[in-house]
């Protein structure tokens, strides 16, 4: 129905249909309708709608409805005659106390019951408050509308959130939310989000975020297990099964990328379309993305591009214990990332103080040369870093840095040196999650750079045998079958 350009509102038309205006107003409206085809059409539509609604079929009860009702009513009347559960429990407790050899005085009984009740209530309250998410920090133009107070608040650190809170951010703003031990979430830029459900129980916290527009990043921890989190957007509903993911909503369309773990995504078809009763669902796994248009079924998830994947790396800032991370992609193509792109290191500020200063300087020197045209200079700096690393044998992030060195040596054209470093990771750190990547990298260098296909095949076969569940094993099997 079109908006009226004239001053007659739809409310006036609706009241006119119900003859709810004064006779004077009704006459004036009648005269207007005669001269305004647009309002006349709206009036006809309103009358038609009213007629159709009044003519809608009346429902009839199913067979046995009355019988079932009478049975239910008798049952309920009977249960009212029985003493309630509380009365029965009280009588059991008092008969137990009476059976004790030295009966408790009634004052002591009441005091004991009251203390237990207070203790229980305090425990419940503590558990509830402790698990509620709070603001870790906020920057820029962030405000929160609290429904219960009907007022906007400007949140500072430790601002406790409640169900129904609406968080609004303007350009460049950011807010971190933390539910202790369960998850960290970051909302940023131009965003509007409502904490539509917060339900705490023992050891669990169910959270629903309604994201109207903007960007949300969530990283959950091991303690999240048992809790439920959903992100509701105009186009879909995402239920979190894994750990780290990002959702972005713009113009009612939703982009969702998963860095780690898994997300179940249910698209929202138009409420009147036939699919609305049984909406389609897909699982988005680690390293995949999906773009859902409003009222359209979810497409099949695809692998994230390198650019998209990098945009999700911000999620690593949301982990409980910050750590050094080698920035290569996830899934079966991470070895390609390692060799064909300069791998970068992500070192959070909170960890920097635990890295020896010369080593940190050396890492930064290599990272800064990613676009340097002088390949030999890059190789020299990578070797310097290797020497520096040898000075700290027990360094916690040695594997990551070795892989970082291997990537840079390879990109500097030092294939054999890169091979040696990867071999060291594979032999010295067989239990590391980088071991499979190192094996795969070695095989790739033999195959493509040293033209030793038989050696490459042998390494791929060893990789499949040693790390059968790794994503590199899948890639190795594909390559072996193509090599014949």
């Amino acid at each position: 129905m079109k908006k009226n350009k004239c001053r007659i509102s739809f409310r006036d038309i609706s009241l006119y249909v119900d003859s709810a205006h004064t006779s004077k107003k009704r006459e004036a409206l009648k005269a207007h309708f005669d001269g305004c085809p647009r309002c006349k059409k709206s009036l006809e539509q309103a009358e038609s709608l009213k007629a159709s609604l009044s003519n809608i079929a009346k429902m009839q009860e199913s067979t046995g409805f009355d019988f079932e009702f009478n049975r239910l009513l008798d049952e309920r009347i009977e249960s009212l005659k029985r003493p309630s559960l509380a009365v029965r429990a009280r009588s059991k407790i008092s008969s137990f106390i009476d059976s004790l050899i030295i009966p408790m005085p009634s004052v002591a009984r009441v005091a004991a019951s009251l203390s237990m009740a207070v203790f229980l209530l305090m425990g419940l309250r503590y558990n509830y408050v402790k698990s509620m998410p709070f603001v870790e920090f906020s920057a820029g133009d962030v405000r929160i509308y609290r429904q219960s107070a009907a007022a906007w608040a400007y949140p500072g650190p430790n601002f406790r959130l409640k169900q129904g809170d609406k968080i609004e951010l303007k350009d460049g703003a950011m807010i971190n939310l933390v539910s202790r031990g369960r998850y960290k979430a970051r909302i940023k830029d131009n965003s509007l989000i409502v904490l539509s459900r917060l339900a705490a129980g023992f050891g669990r916290l169910d959270t629903d975020f309604s994201l109207s527009y903007g960007k949300l990043l969530v990283n959950t921890t091991d303690k999240f297990k048992g809790s439920v989190m959903k992100v509701l957007t105009p186009a879909c509903e995402a239920e979190i099964i894994g750990t780290a993911f990002m959702v972005e909503v713009s113009e009612n369309n939703t982009w969702l990328g998963v860095l780690e773990g898994r997300v179940k995504l249910v698209s929202r078809p138009h409420p009147l379309s036939p699919e609305s009763r049984n909406p389609a669902q897909v699982y988005v796994d680690s390293g995949q993305k999906v773009f859902v248009k409003q009222y359209m079924p979810s497409p099949v998830p695809e692998l994230c591009s390198r650019y998209q994947w990098k945009s999700m790396l911000e999620l690593y800032q949301l982990v409980e214990k910050p750590q050094v991370i080698l920035l290569i992609g996830t899934g079966i193509h991470r070895v390609d990332d390692l060799l064909n792109n300069h791998a970068l290191m992500y070192i959070p500020d909170a960890v920097k103080h635990s890295i020896p200063e010369p080593l940190l300087r050396s890492i930064n020197a290599v990272s800064g040369l990613a676009k340097c045209p002088d390949r030999s200079f890059l190789a020299d700096k990578a070797r310097d870093l290797m020497r520096e690393l040898e000075r700290y044998p027990g360094f916690a992030y040695k594997v990551e840095i070795l892989m970082f060195i291997a990537s840079n040596l390879y990109n500097a054209g030092e294939h054999t040196s890169a091979l040696n470093v990867l071999g060291r990771v594979a032999s010295e750190y067989p239990g590391s999650e980088m071991a499979g990547v190192a094996w795969s990298g070695m095989a790739s260098i033999y195959q493509h750079d040293l033209n030793d296909v038989s050696m490459a095949k042998k390494i791929y076969a060893d990789l499949i045998y040693s790390y059968p569940d790794s994503s590199e094993a899948i890639r190795a099997a594909e390559i072996l079958s193509s090599l014949g």
Binding site: S14, L49, L53, I56, M59, S62, E68, F69, R76, D208
Partner: protein, 193 residues
């Protein structure tokens, strides 16, 4: 017999009087709840619960208010609670298709239902379209939905609906107009996007 005198008898424990009340109101209440929540099975359960509550709480009813309003209010509260606990989040706004492309469909759905009175040859089509109207009603917020069902489907006046909804008659008018406006827009959807 008048409702008020039947209520007096029920208060004295007369189950037959209650049966009379039950037979009189069960279908309107079933219809009201069904239109409210959109599921016949759950509507039947809630209708039964409504009458159980009417019987159990009859001593709380004071003849100051109309008995019909009291029963409808109990049914409305149950239906609202049911919707509140339903898992599907209805807060996501409904896409309103451009009226330009949807007017034809709106006109056909609405007018077909209006024209199908007493035409068995068009019952199948009518049922499909009525289902479409019900699904559009499902999309309305509870307050608007309540006004539309009470006034347009159940045929209550503004005053009677206001008594049930516990608000002023002109508030009913406002909610009804907003409900109708949304319904009209929703029914403009052509479904072939």
């Amino acid at each position: 017999m008048e409702d008020e005198s039947l209520v007096l008898k029920i208060k004295q424990g007369d189950r037959q009087a209650f049966d009379e009340i039950y037979q009189k109101y069960k279908r309107p209440i079933l219809n009201y709840i069904y239109r409210f929540i959109g599921s016949l099975h759950s509507a039947e359960e809630l209708t039964q619960e409504t009458f159980v509550r009417v019987y159990i709480n009859i001593h709380k009813y004071e003849p100051r208010a109309k008995f019909t309003s009291w029963v409808y209010r109990i049914a409305g509260n149950l239906a609202r609670n049911f919707l509140r606990h339903a898992s599907y989040d209805k807060r996501i706004s409904v896409f309103i298709k451009d009226a330009e492309s949807g007017e034809g469909r709106h006109a056909s759905v609405v007018e077909n239902i209006a024209d199908n009175r007493g035409r068995p040859d068009r019952q199948a089509q009518s049922k499909e379209e009525q289902d479409l109207v019900q699904r559009a009603i499902d999309e309305l917020p509870a307050r608007l939905k309540e006004a539309v069902i009470l006034c347009d489907i159940e045929g209550f006046s503004y005053d009677e609906a206001a008594d049930i909804m516990d608000c002023r008659p002109m508030t009913v008018g406002s909610r009804l107009s907003r409900g109708r406006q949304r319904l009209a827009k929703l029914l403009c959807y052509t479904g072939d996007e």
